[in-house]
């Protein structure tokens, strides 16, 4: 799925100008155009309906706070929003996963929460296989690998779009995708042990004033 289905060039340019001017109507239109897409990315990474909604809200508010960094071209705003959404989701789930391994307050929620799947048997099987692979990816990839996976593989951004959204080079995005592929190949190779060592709590990503839109 292309990320720019909502805003043809003229629309994107107009939104950029109005957002930069602090136009709340434009913000509302942006929300309506992209809320579902942002939510799907958030729900894919969070596997928790309540958290995904929080992340969706935070994504749009973060976008609003960063509206000054928008340039005035006619590029779609989708990749920029998805970049923010991926980072917000990973921040939110990092805390959540930590809580899980710490048997802290809400540990059982993530453990038991799974993305909802349709109720017929075929869909359930597909869903289970899907979930298993997805969970492996979520559990074993480094946050930055997961981030580009979510953007390029799950949300349909090109490596170039993801690179611009994250403020890194396209080469960096590709090398993260290569690392993700190598890691996932290892996990799905039947010659390998059924599962690797349990994931350890991860250090928080280096603080980075990220996601300002590069010019």
């Amino acid at each position: 799925m292309r990320s720019d289905q909502h805003d043809e060039p003229g629309r994107a340019r107009e939104w950029r100008e109005r957002l930069r001017a602090g136009d709340v109507e434009a913000f509302t239109e942006l929300f309506r155009a992209y809320a579902d897409q942002v939510h799907r990315l958030a729900a894919s990474l969070c596997a928790d309906a309540a958290l995904a909604e929080d992340v969706t809200g935070e994504t749009f508010l973060t976008a609003w706070r960063r509206r000054d960094t928008l340039h005035t071209g006619d590029e779609s705003l989708g990749p920029w929003l998805m970049g923010i959404a991926a980072r917000q989701s990973l921040n939110a789930t990092r805390g959540r996963r930590r809580q899980l391994s710490f048997v802290s307050r809400h540990g059982h929620r993530l453990l038991a929460d799974t993305p909802d799947i349709a109720d017929d048997v075929t869909a359930r099987l597909d869903g289970a296989a899907r979930l298993d692979r997805t969970q492996r990816a979520v559990a074993h990839l480094r946050p930055r690998e997961l981030e580009v996976l979510a953007l390029c593989v799950w949300s349909g951004l090109t490596p170039q779009e993801a690179a611009r959204a994250l403020g890194v080079s396209a080469g960096t995005v590709r090398s993260r995708l290569f690392r993700a592929r190598a890691r996932l190949r290892e996990l799905t190779d039947p010659a390998e042990p059924a599962h690797g060592p349990p994931p350890r709590p991860r250090p928080v990503l280096n603080a980075r004033p990220a996601l300002e839109e590069p010019r």
């Binding site: 540990g107 909802d116 592929r181 350890r200």
Partner: protein, 336 residues
Amino acid sequence: MNDPVLDDQLLSELRTLALRPDPAPLAPVDRARLEAAVVEAVVGAAGPRRSWRDVAPAALVAACLLAVLGLVAVPFVTSRPDTRPAALPVRAEPAAARALQGLATVALASTTPRVGADDFVYVRSTVISNEGAYGEGVELGAPHEREIWLSQQERPAASGLIREFGQDWPLSGAGRASAPGPDRPTYAWIDDLPTDPDRIVAELESRQPFGSEQSPEQYAFDRIGDIVTENLVPPELASALFEAVTRLDGVRLIDDVQDAIGRRGFGIARTDERFGTTTVWVFEPGSAVPLGVRWYLPGPSSDPQAMTLFGATAIQERGVASELGVAPGESADALT
């Protein structure tokens, strides 16, 4: 390198290695509520800073519900029964209710330090946690120490700190801490709760996040558990909170149970209807301050009584710290 063919190969292999999840879409009523909340937060951003989550949730939900009632009224009507009798009956199992009433009496005679807005509630525990991989079986790790500092400020950048596995983990939501409430109980917020147990239950249940599929009883039980196990609670409130637990259906007594370091006592337990997980607060007879908590998953057999421990704590110290990352009685200088 910029090779579209190579990109395609890479991406299509990744698509099979990590299938795209297929989460439930945002329901129209939730989208409408979220839109109202973020737009309101943006409009109000010129004034005093507030969180979009604070936007009068009940009123907003009601407004959105009215707006889309024709579409999706049914699930919400069934999931949130809001009419309750003024005085709630005792619903916990009789033995649990007696134990809780005992705890309520003991709590009244206890003393807790006051906690100021700039202080941190500090709790040091021994923890046994599930180290198994996500989605796989339970593997309990060795007992280890966990320290937590909980900020008491209204709107700090981070709501606190966990020190565990030799590292510090700042506690924050997506960017900043939420306001004090059931999910982030500060001493001041706890102190402001009504002392009428029925009103506590009503207050907690009314704060359950919209769309949460836990039962209201489980939500209230979990929140009260957070408050009494990993916080400091004014005696009168502690007493009222234990009384409030007697109003919750499904609460039961476990006669003999141990905390994570083997201290024995009795347990107050409830099983989450949705997930099948059971939480047990462990008490030493004669004290209203829990020794620790145990968590169980259902199984491995289909026997409804079968449970697998997946975590336990033993609280070793509770106190008030004046600095984040520094235990009470410890000097910040001594650490450097």
